[in-house]
């Protein structure tokens, strides 16, 4: 008899299938009606569970928490409500394991990434998911499954890479940027989104398994997935704290691999000229007292002593000589993710047993690199290494402050900036903070570019300026400066003292991305993020014997 397909099942059926018979209990089920309030105002029909099933139950008799994304609803995309369901459930589980209980979290992933209709709210939710996953990993293995036909992309592709143990089925795909988006951003010569064989040979789970980027490859069958999950929960080893991503611990080796990678014909030449970079300007002004950097590097790292604080500043800047053409304009690419991770782990190691230095992320990142080579080599993993390093550093007590001086976009921002304890931003209307170019949003959501740009009026989370982002609780403090492009000494001094004050606040009261949900500025804009969490906590307590 032919095995039953796992991918054909709904999110709820997938959760039931991995749990011991009769133990499935759903939290915040469809009757709780935690729906997306953002879809109806955009003329879209919501779903009563917002495409996410939270289930508690037993796997091989061990308490487990299953989070299952419904690929059939809005492509499994992560918005405010389903994002808060995942983050909120993981946060409760984290509290429980910290109190000595054992709960095994399993993420059944089937998602294109951030829900474009909810844009920056999805982005914030995913930063909270990353944070909880990495914190949980110290106590229990966090298991990820690429469960369906959509695959797993965007910020959730990074989440997959953050799991302790990742299972993929033969029909699954995993990456950062989906082929359609790469084609839209760069062109069909870079990645032909209609070439299905090419796609699966590049980003299919079998290929990922061959490259060591997923831990176990199984058939698309209910029995195969259920037993793979069961085996991990029964026998899976803990991946202890402080080692970073198990699949990518050796950064030097990863960078070496990238440098040995043969460049094929799929090369789109980008302009060799270096655009004016605020990331570079502010790095030079703040960290080097206006002495310009001379080395041809895209990740700038330098330690400065500001009063009593030793601060490691990190900035990603354009590098016309970068090996990968798609990452020459200051994007977060393969080398940048690994590079940041290396710089952070270096600081973590050298501060062992002493005062933990502060980390300053100077953010001007126009996005992640969209390219064939990037996907083939696993850019999701490179960005995950940076996310992982930031979270590990924060958990160990390094105060992390982000200063947004230019663009802060999507996966690049998740990997460089969003894991900080505090986020400062220049109060400048030319700053852009969003999840995808308007052209790509139009293509993916099948709207006209005009409709997309008008959306910001009715859905503030799709707006692209820094004040809107601050209005979502995404920014702790907006800083006024005279000329953001060429900051004068006074402005630089003011910003420096703001950074030092932020470091001080964080040293006194530790903060994490989750803290932003409770910011006053998020009172109205993120009320569902709060309601969902309250509901999860209430139901969790009621369900605990």
């Amino acid at each position: 008899m032919k095995d039953r397909s796992y991918a054909e099942k709904s999110a709820r059926e997938r959760a039931i299938a991995v749990l011991d018979p009769g133990t499935f209990r759903e939290l915040v089920d469809p009757f709780a009606r935690m729906e997306s309030p953002h879809l109806p105002i955009q003329g879209l029909v919501p779903q009563s569970d917002d495409g996410l099933v939270i289930a508690r139950g037993k796997v091989r008799d061990k308490d487990s928490l299953i989070l299952s994304l419904e690929g059939g609803f809005q492509g499994g995309s992560v918005g405010e409500v389903n994002g808060a369901k995942i983050a909120g459930a993981l946060e409760v589980a984290l509290k429980e394991v910290r109190a000595g209980k054992l709960i095994f979290p399993v993420l059944l992933l089937d998602t294109g990434g951030i829900r474009l209709q909810e844009a920056n709210l999805g982005l914030l939710a995913i930063s909270e998911i990353h944070s909880a996953m990495v914190a949980l990993r110290d106590f229990v293995p966090v298991i990820g499954v690429i469960a369906g036909r959509v695959g797993c992309f965007g910020g959730m592709g990074i989440a997959a890479a953050l799991s302790s143990f990742l299972i993929g089925t033969e029909i699954g795909r995993l990456g950062l940027n989906g082929p359609e988006v790469i084609e839209q951003e760069v062109g069909a010569t870079e990645f032909d989104s209609r070439d299905r064989i090419l796609i699966w040979e590049t980003i299919g789970c079998r290929r990922r398994f061959d490259m060591g980027q997923i831990d176990k490859l199984v058939d698309d069958s209910v029995d195969a997935v259920a037993s793979a999950v069961g085996e991990q929960i029964s026998f899976g080893a803990l991946r202890p704290a402080g080692v970073g991503l198990t699949r990518s611990r050796d950064f030097a080796q990863q960078l070496q691999k990238i440098h040995e990678y043969p460049m094929l014909d799929r090369m789109t030449l980008s302009a060799a000229s270096s655009p004016r970079s605020r990331g570079l300007q502010w790095f030079n002004a703040l960290v080097r007292n206006y002495v310009p950097v001379t080395t041809g590097k895209s990740v700038l790292v330098e330690d400065v002593q500001w009063g009593k604080e030793l601060v490691r500043a990190i900035s990603v800047v354009p590098n016309p000589n970068a090996r990968f053409p798609q990452a020459r304009q200051g994007q977060m690419g393969l080398e940048e993710g690994w590079g940041i991770a290396q710089a952070i782990w270096e600081a973590i190691k050298s501060d062992e047993g002493g005062t933990r230095r502060a980390l300053l992320a100077i953010v001007d990142v126009p996005g992640q690199a969209f390219g064939f080579h990037e996907e083939a080599l696993g850019i999701h993993l490179s960005l995950a290494a940076a996310v992982d390093a930031y979270i590990a550093a924060r958990e160990l007590g390094h105060p992390i402050v982000t200063l947004i001086v230019g663009k802060a976009i999507s996966g690049a921002f998740l990997a460089h900036g969003l894991q900080a304890s505090e986020i400062l931003a220049l109060d400048d209307e030319t700053i852009e903070i969003h999840v995808m170019s308007e052209a790509s949003v139009a293509r993916v959501t099948r709207r006209s570019p005009k409709e997309v740009s008008e959306l910001a009026r009715i859905a503030p989370s799709t707006a692209r300026n820094v004040r809107s982002f601050a209005g979502l609780g995404g920014v702790d403090r907006l800083l006024r400066v005279n000329n953001p492009d060429l900051p004068d000494a006074q402005s630089v001094e003011n910003v420096r003292s703001e950074i030092l004050e932020a470091i001080q606040r964080v040293r006194e009261v530790p903060k994490e991305p989750r803290t932003r949900v409770d910011l006053h500025s998020a009172d109205v804009t993120r009320k569902m993020s709060r309601r969902v969490r309250q509901e999860i906590e209430t139901e969790w307590v009621a369900m605990t014997p």
């Binding site: 009757f31 109806p40 003329g43 879209l44 029909v45 919501p46 779903q47 009563s48 059939g72 609803f73």
Partner: protein, 66 residues
């Protein structure tokens, strides 16, 4: 679908396909003629056609009786 009150049933349909009001009405007329129940029904059609929804309603009622 949830139990209704003695006062009667309510139905709410959310769809982004316009122009199918008659089909929806006839589906609910048939449903309540066939079954003597009071129910609160909420439908988010998710792109499904009215006949598919009709089938699901029958299944939901069947399940609620088990």
């Amino acid at each position: 679908m949830e139990p209704g009150s003695p006062a009667g049933s309510t139905v709410r349909v959310r769809t982004n396909v316009a122009g199918f009001q008659d089909q929806w009405l006839s589906i609910f007329r048939t449903f309540f003629e066939r079954h003597d129940v009071a129910a609160v029904i909420e439908i988010n059609d998710g792109g499904a056609s009215p006949p598919t929804v009709q089938l699901r309603l029958e299944q939901a009622l069947e399940e609620s009786r088990q």
